[in-house]
Amino acid sequence: MGQADVAVTRGEVEEFLYEEAALLDAWKLDEWLALLTEDAYYRVPSNDRPESDPRGTLFTIADDIARIRSRVTRLKDRNAHAEFPPSRTRRLITNVRIVERQPLRVEANFAVYRHRSNEDVRQYVGRYRYLLRKEGGKLRIAGREAILDAMELASLGTVSFIL
C-alpha cells in the first residue's frame, strides 16, 4: 500500500472525481462505496476548527469505513427522515490539484447545491482533501475530507447527505 509508484495525471484524477460526484448526485451509494478502500475515512470538520484531528476535536462527521457503510445503509432506508425523499444535489468540482504524490494527495474546490421541496437552495461551498490510492490499477479513495468555507453551518442546517 502506497509503495507502488502512483503514476497518475491530473486528468485522470479529475475524471475519477467527476465519476464519484456523478454517483453521489445520482444516489448510487453502493457503487460509490465500491470506490472506497477497506480503510477509508470520510470527514467533515466543525466549521470553527477546519484543520483538526477528530480524535481530539468535535467534528460534524468523522466516519471510518464501518461508519461510512452504516451511513449508506441508513441513507437507503426511507426512515432516514432527513433524506427522505432524498435531496437533489449537484456537485461542481474544480481547481483539482495533485498536492503530493507519495502518498497521493489531491485537493479540489467544490460547490454542492442541495435542493429539497419547498425549500430554498442550500449551497455547500468548500474544498475537498482526498487521499487516493491505486488498487489493481484503479484509483480508489482512502480518505476524503470536505472542509466547508462557511463560518458556521447556520442556514446550511445539517449535513445529512454525503457531502
Partner: protein, 420 residues
C-alpha cells in the same frame, strides 16, 4: 388568548399552536422569558488563560465572555459606549484590550474605558469611568456553567437551578478532578422551527422509535444488545420523566446505549475495552458502587429552562439555542469531557458523540427534519389550533420518559411567565 389549557381533573392538556407561530408571541417571550430567566452563556473551561475571550449572541444580544487579568470570568455586552459598534468582532482569541475600530475607543479586560482618541475635545466633566463596557445585570456560575440574567432582581442562579443541580452534578461526577472541559469544535446550525419545539424534542423519548429507527438499527447491526421492551414500555430500558421545578425537567433512563463513561459497546472497538474498564474502576473507587452505577449506567437529558440542554447519553453535549424568529432558531452544541481524560478515552467520547448527535450524526438530522416538518404543519394553526400533551396524565406516581409530564412542566412554567 389562552395558550396552555391545563385541566388535570378532565385529563386535558393542550398547547395553542399560536405559541409556536405568532411573531407577537415571539416578541413577548423575548421580554417575559429571556429577560427574566437565567440564560446560559458558556463554560469557564472555554477560556484557558487571562485575556481569553469568546463572543456570542445570547438572548439576541452580542456578548463577550472573557477572563480578566486576574483570571476571573466576566461577561460584557459587546457594544461601544460611544456609538454602539461591536468592540470585539472576532469569534474567539486573546486580547489585552478591546478596541472599537470605528472611532478607536479602547477598553481593558475589566471593561474599563482605557483610551479615547482626541479626548481633549470633549467638554469639561467628561468622565471616562462613566463609560465602561456594560455588563448584564447579573452573571453567576454553577460548577463552571456561566449564566446571565437581565433581571437585576432575579433569584440567585443556585436557587433558580434548584433540583436541576443534582443532574448537573451527575455529569460532573464523571471527572476524577471534578472538572469538565468543553472540547474544541463547535456545531452551530439553524433549525427552521420554533425554539420550544427543540426543548420538547430534547427530552421527549416518545419519538425515539419512530423518528430514530435507523439509529436503533445501526446500534443493533453493530452488535449492541437490546432487550425487548417490558410490558407498557416502548423502549429497551426503563426510564422516567421528571419535573424538576422552575420549568426544568429531565428524562432519567437506565442506559442501553454505549457510554464513554463507562459502558463499552462493540462500536468503540476491542482496543478501547481496557480503557473503559479503567474508567469504570476509577468511578467505583472514587464514588462507591452505587454512585458509580448512577453515573455510568443511566443516561439523562436535562432541560434547564428555557434554552439549555445537557444530554448525558452517547456522550455529553451542551446544547443551547437562541430564538431568531418565531419559526427559526440558531443551535450551538459542544462536547464536554473530563479534563484529565486520556487521548483514547477522548477519542471514544467524540466518536460516540457523532453516532447520534449533531448535524452529521445518525439521529439529530432526523430531529431537525421532524421539527421543520412540525413548523410547516403549524401554518394551519388557525384551523387546527391545539396540540395535545396528555401522555401519562391519568397515571398516579412514576411517569415514564415516553410520557409527557416533563413536557407539561416546561409549558406550565412558560405559560406562567408569559401571563405576567
Amino acid at each position: 388568548m389562552q395558550l396552555v389549557v391545563n385541566e388535570p381533573q378532565a385529563f386535558r392538556f393542550e398547547v395553542n399552536r399560536a405559541a409556536l407561530v405568532d411573531p407577537a408571541i415571539h416578541e413577548l417571550e423575548q421580554r417575559r422569558i429571556f429577560e427574566r430567566c437565567w440564560i446560559y452563556v458558556g463554560h469557564e473551561s472555554e477560556l484557558g488563560a487571562p485575556g481569553d475571550f469568546k463572543t456570542r449572541t445570547i438572548a439576541g444580544r452580542p456578548v463577550i465572555l472573557c477572563r480578566n487579568s486576574q483570571n476571573r470570568v466576566r461577561v460584557f455586552l459587546n457594544t461601544c459606549r460611544h456609538r454602539g459598534s461591536l468592540v470585539c468582532r472576532s469569534r474567539e482569541g486573546n486580547a489585552e484590550r478591546y478596541t472599537c475600530f470605528y472611532h478607536g475607543w479602547t477598553y481593558d479586560r475589566d471593561g474599563a474605558l482605557y483610551a479615547v482618541p482626541g479626548q481633549s475635545a470633549y467638554p469639561p466633566g467628561f468622565d471616562k469611568t462613566a463609560f465602561a463596557l456594560k455588563e448584564p445585570p447579573r452573571v453567576e456560575a454553577y460548577r463552571g456553567f456561566v449564566f446571565l440574567n437581565f433581571d437585576a432582581n432575579a433569584a440567585s442562579l443556585d436557587e433558580y437551578l434548584g433540583k436541576a443541580k443534582e443532574y448537573i452534578d451527575l455529569v460532573i461526577d464523571q471527572s476524577p478532578s471534578g472538572e469538565m472541559q468543553v472540547i474544541q469544535g463547535t456545531q452551530e446550525y439553524d433549525i427552521k422551527a420554533n425554539w420550544k419545539l427543540l426543548v420538547e424534542n430534547s427530552f421527549d423519548d416518545y419519538h425515539l422509535l419512530s423518528t430514530h429507527s435507523t439509529w436503533l438499527d445501526y446500534l443493533k447491526n453493530s452488535g449492541v444488545e437490546m432487550q425487548r421492551p417490558d410490558k407498557g414500555h416502548l423502549l429497551p430500558a426503563h426510564g422516567v420523566g421528571k419535573d424538576l421545578g422552575n420549568g426544568h425537567g429531565v428524562v432519567d433512563n437506565v442506559n442501553f446505549r454505549g457510554r464513554p463513561v463507562a459502558r463499552w459497546i462493540p462500536i468503540y472497538g476491542e482496543a478501547a475495552k481496557p480503557e473503559l474498564e479503567k474508567i469504570r474502576a476509577e468511578l467505583v473507587a472514587r464514588l462507591g458502587q452505587a454512585r458509580a452505577t448512577r453515573v455510568a449506567d443511566t443516561n439523562r437529558n436535562l432541560i434547564v429552562f428555557p434554552n439549555l440542554v445537557l444530554n448525558d447519553g452517547s456522550s455529553v453535549t451542551i446544547r443551547t439555542f437562541q430564538p431568531v424568529a418565531a419559526d427559526r432558531m440558531r443551535v450551538t452544541a459542544w462536547a464536554l469531557g473530563p479534563r484529565e481524560e486520556s487521548a483514547t478515552a477522548r477519542a471514544v467520547r467524540l466518536d460516540s458523540f457523532l453516532t447520534f448527535y449533531g448535524p452529521g450524526g445518525f439521529a439529530t438530522p432526523d430531529d431537525v427534519a421532524a421539527l421543520e416538518s412540525v413548523q410547516q404543519g403549524l401554518a394551519t394553526y388557525r384551523e387546527v389550533p391545539w396540540s395535545v400533551m396528555t401522555r401519562g396524565m391519568a397515571k398516579e406516581g412514576e411517569q415514564l420518559n415516553t410520557d409527557e409530564l416533563h413536557l407539561r412542566a416546561f409549558w406550565i412554567q412558560w405559560d406562567k411567565l408569559m401571563s405576567r
